[in-house]
Structure formats: structure tokens, C-alpha cells
Amino acid sequence: MKRTALSQSAAKERTLKYLWKCLSSYKKEAILSPLFKLFEACMELVVPLVVAHIVDVGIATGDRMYIVHGMLLLVAFGAAGLAFALTAQYFAAKAAVGTSASVRGMLFTKLQSLSYEDIDLVGTSQMITLMTSDVNQVQAGVNHTLRLLLRSPIIVFGAAAMAFTVDVYAGIIFLVLIPLLAAVIVGVMAATAPLYKKVQEKLDGVNLSVRENLQGVRVIRAFCREEGELALFDGRNDDLCAAQKRAGRISAVTNPVTFCLVNLAVILLVFVGGVRVSMGSLAQGDVIALYLYITIILTELIKLANFIYIVAKAVSSARRIGDVLALPAEPDSYLPAEEGHGDRAVEFEDVTFTYRGGGAPALSDIAFSVGRGETVGILGGTGSGKSTLVSLIPRFYRAGSGSVKVGGVDVGAIPKETLRNIVAVVPQKTLIFQGTIRSNLLWGNGTATEEDLLWAVGVAQAEDVVAAKGGLDGEIAQEGKNLSGGQRQRLAIARALVRRPEVLILDDSFSALDYATDARLRAALRSVGCTTFIVSQRTASVRSADKIVVLDEGRIAGIGTHGELLKTCGLYREIDASQGGGEA
């Protein structure tokens, strides 16, 4: 479903243009490589003629010197062919590798520039497939195209043309044979294409089983579902095997049928040759040359079939990449720049927001403002729109109607880099990257000093994390796997603090922390003095905030301090009571 949405959003005819752009930096190579291949092909095409002369002149007249000269000529053509081929291969490799590197770079840049909405649309796993296997397919496709694009037709049609120069009647056999062979190859490909698509679908099922069983290993074992899962996998695996065999059976037809056709043509050729020899218009050596031409065509066609397969795969990969490249980059700003005014740090003015593809608005009529240095709690149940609300502040998503302002300026008018330097977010799903604690913290601000880092670590209550890893230069594994959930959360908070942001957003960032750490952290944050948003489900986390915004199904159910809300907001009272607040 994702896929169709994606391809529909991209204009079809534009999708392969980028490839030309990438290839155009290698124009010289892209022209020279096929050209040298063409020279190589010509060297090959001369060979049967030389052989014919050896037979008809050398052997017939017993001229040994003529034969030696013919042999030397053959070797010379071979050597020239080698030189041409090596040159061509080098240019092809250079162009292909260079093109794929630019495609990869372009793609990475594009992926990074996408808006959150498009990131959601494309999805992580597809992005990674694009970056790796799809780009590799494109590289192989470009490489083979440059090498075979001119060579194969030149060889096939050149052989036919040479046949005509030898004998017109024999040439007609070639004219019939070539379309027939082409029909077989195209026919088999057309017949197998849907079958290979089936194979791909079945493979997806097997992939799904494997991934699920790895990720859900605890649940599957806890529910003793190992056998059920194996049975499910077996079904998918057998389906895949059957689909592969079905597709393989049809592809298996290609070789025998082309072999059969070519050799029937040889029989016909010898027969026509016989008639023409008896008429005196052909010599025996000519028939040999014609036979050799047919053999050359057969060899070339086998290469061509393989080539078409590679190119077909490359084209579909290239289209997938093109679809993503056609997505618009997130604009730096939406609105003309304006001057900031007012003392409000953050304002929401009648904001309504709907996710793309979502039916009902995720947020409706949100209006409130926050003064500089204030702490705001955003409280609400699951799916009430808390995270959505805060993600509008750094303009991860753009408000549908109404306006979100930071420092008195609509966020649409602030260049995104400036905006995100002012607003630091600690997302719900904490991500820490491979490297060291230091390299992660420096994400917040590349120029931060040692003191800055240690200060941030201290505020984030992460001293023990740093100590446990042996200092700021302690190694962090990929995706922060060698840290616990709570450790990751605290490092993520420290990373945000290194930025010394004006607005700090903590999106449920305490969920893996125990109450004691949570409380110490909140106290420390208050001392920092930046405008702070705390998103939470627990009233305890927001109780001391200057202002609490209570959300219910995307609407504001109440705004006020803890004390005020207890009096005025029924929902807040209910939530607070459910968390044991009344007893405290």
C-alpha cells in the first residue's frame, strides 16, 4: 500500500531523469566504452572471412605462406580486440561505479532532506533497501549496458550483414532466424516475469516469518508458539520453493529452444549452400564462413538474454530510487521572513493538524501561549495528541491551519536550521548512535567544550552512565545497544542540553526512569532556565509545571496549574486520582 502511494506521488516520466544526470558526469566514459566495444565486435566479425579465404585460397591452391599470413592476421585481430575490450571495460567500470556512487550520495542527501511526513511514507526498511541493493542493481545495469548495448546488436546484425555479402540467399536465412530467436527470448521473459513476481511475493512472506520470529522471540517462547510458527513458516517456505520451481521450469526452455532453432538454420544453410555451390555461385569456404557467423550469433544471444535480465532488474530498481528522489525536500521555510516580537516563547493560535491519510484531525483548535523560561506540562492519555502537539513546535510537521509561533515568529518563517537550534527535542523513542558518549553529545552542538558536556551530563543525571562506560570517550554500540533504556533516555536528554536550547521538549522522556531519578532530573532542569515542555502521562511529572495543558482526543480539556486543574478540570482530577495523587 505504501508502495502505490509512493509511486502515485511521483511523476512517472521524470523518474529516470536523475540517472542521466548522474551519468552525465561520466559522458566521456559512457560514449567511449560502447565505442570501443564496437571496435572489438568488428574484430570478431572479420574472423570467419579470413577462415573462408584460408580454405578457398590457401588450401585450394596449396599456398602455405598464404595460410601463415591468414593465421597472423587472426592473431592480430585478436590482439586488437583485446586492446579495445580492455579500454572499453575500464571506461564502463568507471562510469558505472561513478554513477552509482553519485546516485547513492544523491539518495542519502534526499532521504535526509525529506519531511517527517515523507519519512513516514517511505519507511525505514525501504530506505535501506534503496541505499544498498537497489543502487547495486543500478550499478550492474549501467556497467552491462555500456558494455553490451552496442556490441550485441552490432554482432548480431553485423553477422547477418556479412552473411549477405557472402550470399544473398543465405542471408535470408539469417533474416528469418534472428526475429525467431528474438521472439523466443522475449516470449520466455514475458512468460516468466509474472512468475518471478510471484517468487518475490512468496519471498516477502518468508522474510516476514524470519523477522517476526527474531523480534518476537520472547513472546513466541513465552506462549510456546514455536511449533505453530514453524508450521506457518513451512507453508510459506514450500510455497516459495514451488514458485521458484515453476519459474525455473519456463526459463529452462530458453537454451534448448534457441539451440534447436540455430541448428535447424544450420541444416537449412548447408542445404541452400549445396544448391548455390552446384550453381557455382558459392565456394565451400563461403559456406564455412556462413556457418561460423551463425555460431557467433548463438553465443551472443546467450549473453544478451543474461544482459536483458540484469537490465530489467536495474530499471525497476532505478524506478524505485527515482520515485523517492522525486519527493520534495522539506523547504527551509514556508513563509517570508519576519521580525520577532513579544515576550512569548511559544504560542499556539487555533492550530488544527491532520496527518496525511488520517481521517480525523489529530489536533483541533489548540490555543495557548508560554512565556520564556516557563515549564509546561502536556498531559493526556494514549493517542490524545501530545507528541503531535510538540512536534509542531520545531516544525517536524506543519500545522494545517492556525499558527505556531516561536519567539513571536511563525515557525513557517524561521529557517529550519535556526528553528531547530532554538528548539531541542528529546523524542519518545530515544536513539543513541554508534561512537562514543562524547560523539553523541556533540550532536547537540559540535563546538561544545568539555565543561559544557559535563554540565549537560550532570543536569541529565547521567554521571553514572558516563562512569559506567569509563568516561566521555566510552564506546557506544550501534543503536546504543550496550545501554539500558533509562541510560539511553538520560544521554538523549544530555544531548539536547548541550545545545543550550531556548525551548526544550521532553517527549515522554522519563518513561524508563524510576521516580527518584525522574524527580532529581526535573529539579535539575528547572535550574537551567529554558522554556521546557514535559510530555507525560503521569501527573507527578507535570505537577510542578507553571502550566499544564490537558489533552483529550486532540482537544484541550483544560489549562492551568496543578491546583487550578484539580478544581476546574474533571479529566485532570480523574487522571490524578487514578495515579494515586489524591492520597499524597
Binding site: G58, G81, L114, E212, L264, V277, S278
Partner: protein, 587 residues
Amino acid sequence: MKQPSVLKKILIRLKPYAPWLVLTMAAAILSVAGQIMVSYFVGKAIDCLVYSVNEAGKRVIDFGPIYRQFLFIGVCIAAAVIGQFALSLANNRVAYHVLASLRRDAFKKISSLPLSYIDTRAYGDVSSVILSDAEQFSDGLLLGFTQLFTGFATIIGVLIVMFVMRWEVALVVLFVTPLSLVAAKFIASRTYKMFRAQAEARAEQTAFADEMIAGLKVVKAYTHEDENEEAFGVLNENLRKKSLSAIFLSSTTNPVTRFVNSVVYALVALVGALLAIATAGTAAPFTAGDLTTFLSYSNQYTKPFNEISEVIAEFQNALACAARLFALIEEPEEPSDEGLPALGDVKGEVRAEHVDFSYSEERPLIRDMNIDVPAGSRIAIVGPTGCGKTTLINLLMRFYDVDGGAIFVDGQDIRTVTRRSLRENYGMVLQETWLKTATVRENLCMGNPSCSEQDMINAAIAAHAHGFILRLPEGYDTVLGEEGTLSEGQKQLLCIARVMLCRPPMLILDEATSNIDTRTELLVQDAFRKLMEGRTSFIVAHRLSTIKNADLILVMRAGNIVEHGTHEQLLSQGGFYRELYEAQFEG
């Protein structure tokens, strides 16, 4: 990576397909023989293209012997066609079946591997062994075996026919052709290093891209795009350079061997033509037709030599993949519990005695832990982050085994009963919600596939999931996607309903309610209370309000249970628990 032993394992795998392999070889021989003889008879037919002049002074060709050759050619074509087709079919069958069985064994392995294996590896690494290594292995087998065998048969067959026809020319082919092998090997030995360098550069780049793409939203939040682009550019340029050397050098093999072939071809033409002149008019002349046959043989003979480097590379790759695959399949499993009795009729009394445990030897986690839990009681486990709460659950469920001491259920050491029977007696809701890509119904009935529709609906109602399930497009038959349309909280409600359907004697709730808003949670708590009645329950939660009613609270700190007792007892003790409890209301 001992290749002989891998090869042996492959052969063992292939054993059941012995008849098919024999068929493959027979078909290959038939096809090769047909192809060789077609060239032979074409040569003979060409020899018949010599005219004589009849009485009327007209040139005539006797078509009789030519038709005879045509007949032979036809038979050979048929043999070659049948052989080729049978070869592909038999070979496909073997390759795909071996692939399927390897995939199955590797998949099955997931369920018997110790969790430490899975926890310490990226999912992608394990799944790429099961999926892409298996695929590449079978491709290598498919391509490698057919090409290797037919190549071999072609070389032998062509040599025999050539020597029978004319040994002088055959010698030329025999001695000059291997030059292409030498050339190919020379190139391959240089290419290998470059391919390795390319693989390393690629791995480095992929790892970087994987991580950054997974964290794309964070990258954007911290405007780290430029730094990433720069880092990626460096990796990309490095990969481009490495790829260029590897790809160019490997692509020189074909032209070079092709050149050696053209030398062979020229020499055959030379020797053959000279021989034709020398033997003209003798009893056994070397004819123009024979020369044609030899020229086409020199092509057929050199082809396997040209392909051999490619085939060997493919084969080596297949062996490397097979080695990884077998390493996974042969990875030591959890100690088998075959023959152990099942844990029957559990009351739910749980005891831990002197338990020691650590994930890695350098960092001991749990030391000398003792717990005694009477059947039916409610145990709350509290403590700061990273104190070992989740680990305790791993041990109770036997996801990991204790290093020292023992855990008992109803007085029985849990290592002396089957894991299955132990786990069947636990119901579990984990911190991370995990649902299958399947219908809501299949997910709910996971632990109890035979439950009735009404039971399922009751459980969903009790877990407050019924309402939103009905609002899904197809109700209980809605297929849940991988990333899905459900919120985390809704997923958790489904996980709770899933456990409710099992009604096990013991429960484990790890942060079970952390993603549900507190109003819903209140209702779920109520359902849980009913569920927990008479069941031994272990609850890990950060919310003290949810555990105040526990019969026993275990306070953990740095891998040890530092305090235990009821809420009131612990509060009056004024220790670590009290500190934790008060912290909640500090703000």
C-alpha cells in the same frame, strides 16, 4: 572456515537427492554429446559440398549423403535439447529443495537458540544468513554444479573426438588452451584482495547508512544532516575507489581469455590448413569440413575454461555462505529438555535459592539472590533503572539459565522440567509490545488457539480492547501491519487480552501498563486484579500506586534484593523503598 568440512556437509545435504544428481549428470552427458556430435556432422555435411561435373557439363552435387548427415544432425539436436531441458529441471529441483530445507533448518534454529545468541546480535545479521546467504548458496550450487559438470564433460568429450579425428590438431588445442586458465588465475588472485577491500568499504558505509536512516528523525531534529552528508561522502568516495579497482580488474578476465582463445583458433586454422594441404589426396585427408569441426571445437573446448574462473568465484562465495549457514545451524542450542518430565498441575509456589547470574563474566549482576513466594501471592519488584528487574524475569521464564543456585516452582528445580511446560504456566506481558502480522483474532488466540469466540471477546472486553477492535476496518479479522495503525497503548491492551485468554497459574507483568493512559489503566488494573486472584503474580512497575496492594515487595538495587516486605512494613523501615516512594511526590 574449513572448506573441506563445509563441502562434506553440503554433500551430506545432497545425499537424499542422489537419484536426481545422477539424472543431472546423465542429462548433462547427453546434452554435451549431442552438441559435440552436431558440430561433427555439420563438418561432414560441409565436406559433401563438393560438386562434380556430369555428362551434360553441368555441375551437380549429390544430395544423398548430405541428407544422411542431416538425419544424424537432427538426432543429435534432439538429444542435446532433451538433455539440456532435463538438466535444468533436475538441477532446479535439487537446488530449490536443498535451499528450502536449509532455510527451514535455519529458521527452526531460532526457536532453540539460547536467547543470549539473539540478544547479542543485530536481527539483520541473523536474518541475512537465513535469507540471503541461503539464496546465494543455492544460486552458487545451481550455477556452479551445472557449469562445472557440463564444462568437464565438454572438455573430455571434445578431447576424445578431436584425438580420434586428428591427434596433431588436437595437441595444439590441448596445450595452448590452458593458457587462458593461467591468465584467469593471475587476474583472480589480484582481484580477490580488491573484492575484499570493496566488501569492507561497503560494510562500513552500509552500517553508517543503516543507523542514520533508522534515526532519521533525530538527525533532522538535531540538524545533523550536513555532518552526516560529509561523513557519508567520505565513505562513498572510498567505496567508489575500491569498487572501481575491483570491478575493472575482474572484468579484464573475459577479454584476456577471449584473446587466448583467438590464438588457439588461429593456430588450429594454421595447423589444420597446413595438414589439409599435406594430406590432400591421401587415404585419410584432413578436409575443409574437418577444419570447420575443429574450429567450432576449439570454441566449445575453450568456453568452459573461460567460465571456470567465474564459476569458481561463484562456488567460493557459495561455500562462504554455506559456512555461515552451517555455523548458524550448528550453533549450540539451549540444553535439550528432551526426556524431562513436564511441570504438571502447578500451584504456583516459586523459590529462588542462592541465585547468581550475569550476562557477561566481567560484570556480575545478580549475586546470591533468595526469594520465597508462596502460591497465589502477588509480588511486586521495584528498584531503580538497570537494577536487574528484567533479568529476574528472564530467569523465571528460563530465557536465561542461572549461573549458580537454582529456581524452584512447586519445589521442582525448573531446569529439571521442560521449558515448554514451565512457560505454559506463566502468562507474560512485556515492556515491548510485540504482535504478529496477522489478524487481531490470531494474535489474541496465540496462547490458546482452541479458545471459543466468546472467550476471546470476553478477554478483549476485560482488557478494554473490544471497543477499538470493533472500530478497526474489519474488526477481529483486521490484519495488523508491521508498523501498524495501532497506538502503542492499544497494542499493549491487545497483549493483555492475549494473556487473559491463557489463564495460567503464574503471571509476569513487566511494565505492562507503561503505555496506557492512567484512566484506561485503572480499568485494566481491575481486570488484572480479577485475573491475579489465586495466581502467583510478578509485577515489575515503576508506578508505586499499582503495587501497594502487593503481598510482597522486592526492592532491588544493583542486582540484589535489598529489602522485602509489604508496603507498610517497608515504609516504616525507612530505607531505600521509602526513599523511592517519597521521590514520587517530591515534585
